[in-house]
Amino acid sequence: MMTIIQWILLGAALFSVGLYGVLTRRNAVLVLASVEIMLAAVNINLVAFDTYLSDPAYTGQIFALFVIALAAAEVGVGIAIILMIFRNRHSVDVDELDLMRY
């Protein structure tokens, strides 16, 4: 028999990996990729719980569809911001975001 926890543990593992990426990546494009992994982890949770609950309204699956749409929008916004930054300073290193400090 398949257990629910194996799915949620996978989701949690992917989420933690994504968080690690957000915290450690310096290249802004890769920070964005790490966020995508976190959102993919959320989707795994949502769809697995949907099946687990045998939700008659398919709330989990529909939620996952909306998360995909949001993620796509965020990637569009993120890449646009990154391109703009690259145009001005020829670097996408988030460590160099230090013009403003206290």
Binding site: M1, L19, R25, A33, E36, E74, D95
Partner: protein, 179 residues
Amino acid sequence: MTIGDWLTESANWAFLFLAIPTFVASVMVVSSRNVVRAVLYLVIALGGSAALFLMLGAEFVGWTVVLVYIGAVIILFLIGIMITRAPLTKSVDLSHPISAKAPAALLSVLLFGVVAWAVVESFGLETIPLPEEATRTGEIGLSIFTSWVIPFEVVSFVLLAALIGGIVLARKDEPAEVP
């Protein structure tokens, strides 16, 4: 249920067959020293999650992931990499140095530990009933257009705003127009 029982179930082997590459690929996304490889590993991670959705009977979600993520989002990422002229070979400065990585790794492991403990505590060995047949896409559509009309309409504005704002920020202005 013992480990032995779990391993005799063929669906679990299918799960492992998909879950392990998904996990490994996502680890590579956050640790690879090559930008392009990191993004291509993202394809494997997302493709794995799409296959897992198919296994759960969520066909529409699975194929949407394939179309939207692998078809569109990854292309955006690659365009982003191309335009920002990231080095296509190995480079060391894609991540923070090890001194910054250690606390982040600790935090991530801690996060996973807490979630894992809570999930095991709450759900124990409850089983997930794999559906006999895939979710009918028509029912999902019906549900979206009866209960979720407002978020559906609003998300179109989110996408429109992202599109228009994205064009403004990313386009190259004529020299005279630069603010």
